[in-house]
Symmetry: C2
Subunit: 281 residues, 2 copies
Amino acid sequence: MQILHTLDEMHKLVSAARRGGKSIGLVPTMGFFHAGHLSLMQQARKDNDLVVVSVFVNPTQFGPSEDFKTYPRDMDHDARLAESVGVDVIFNPSPEEMYPEGYSTYVEVERFSKGLCGASRPGHFRGVATVCLKLMNITGPDRAYFGMKDYQQLRVVQRMAADLNLCVQIVPMPIFREPDGLAMSSRNTYLNPAERRAALILKKALEYAQRLIDEGVTSADELRIRVVEFISTEPLAQIDYVEAVDPDTLDCIKTLDHNAVLALAVKIGNTRLIDNTILKV
Amino acid sequence: MQILHTLDEMHKLVSAARRGGKSIGLVPTMGFFHAGHLSLMQQARKDNDLVVVSVFVNPTQFGPSEDFKTYPRDMDHDARLAESVGVDVIFNPSPEEMYPEGYSTYVEVERFSKGLCGASRPGHFRGVATVCLKLMNITGPDRAYFGMKDYQQLRVVQRMAADLNLCVQIVPMPIFREPDGLAMSSRNTYLNPAERRAALILKKALEYAQRLIDEGVTSADELRIRVVEFISTEPLAQIDYVEAVDPDTLDCIKTLDHNAVLALAVKIGNTRLIDNTILKV
């Protein structure tokens, strides 16, 4: 497995692969791999001749008071894990390589970036869309893999790829969970033992919402209010949002008469966690 | 020569050309060709195996009170001219093909879009950058050709291509002028005979500015003021802007101690014309 740091190196490698008629799979990540990341790499390994994993903690998707500096990083460990699942290349550029002096270009996926995490993290999806477009232009993938835990990110990237006529298939991958149900996230390492236990409230709230649907609740407002009450029973939890949205448009839903995504963002102590599920109506 | 209207048709044609190892040149236009357009096509013909010319009056780069509806169109004439200089394919999509229902993605080249035409045409360069990126993604060119009359557009596209890591060479092409000096533009057809004569003030103002430099003027403010006075001698002319800017950054210049672009936008009657020159210091 190779670890490349520059655009030039990547360009040479990708051009050679293309000339050789090889298909390319890209897994864009911020590193600090867990089993969720590895499941994306394994799928990419099955589908493509060349598997590229980018490891880049992207400064433009963090707000000024967010955790860019403290976001966990462990390149040696990541490299061993990636190699163990058959990744061919890690692309690990510096911020200066990605955003040189005078950098000026940003991509906005307007309608999909405003609600949910976009409301509490202004500029976040502008940074996500921009870096994903750059990484796809650099690596020229046939397929790019995104986890469904970041559901809004997935929809932003899918919409961008369609709107900008990119020749890449965006492959959504299911949420990976710890045995007790907590959605895997590199940010879970921020949790102390009490917070780790409290964090289960997210998954439990999603299950509670499905039970409410099964019991006949059809008002999205009622669902929202009862899920908020449910989460509020956990003293360490502070809700950012609880929303039922259309799976395609991410527009808020009023009546639960077709499948919806229930999306949560909850702070546990100082750690902001997200989770979601597709409610079966 | 083929005229294609859909993304599917273009995708098939471009994929086949790529597989055959052919190089592709793109000339993005809004149609109603003049000799300036043809010079871009001729250069593209020299440099590439396959020459694609897009003809698309792009709604997203026009303001609500601008001339989108009245912008001149003549596809039959354009097709004959393009064929006469050896173009292989005209890509002529509908607005619905380019911006289907739910379209949400826009590209901003922030620093380069604010001054000059960006100040009087808010959103214009967002539309230009977005459609150029889409057209380049659709046609996958090795080279794309842009006239220097739209100097700010050229810099916006160059900056976008560099920032977004596009594998395309942006080729700047010199301004084409009528025998009396008027820069060629599809909008020149809006001018009545008196306005057509008055429109020469733009080119004369650029020559006047160079004479001022040659006579030792070094203050960009003085140059600006004297060029404004010069243009104001033409009763049909109404100045939008006169600016001396850095050729790379488009930042306003205070002292003319290195080469600068002098850029003008002037309304002649109801027709807004632009022109520019690189001042030799």
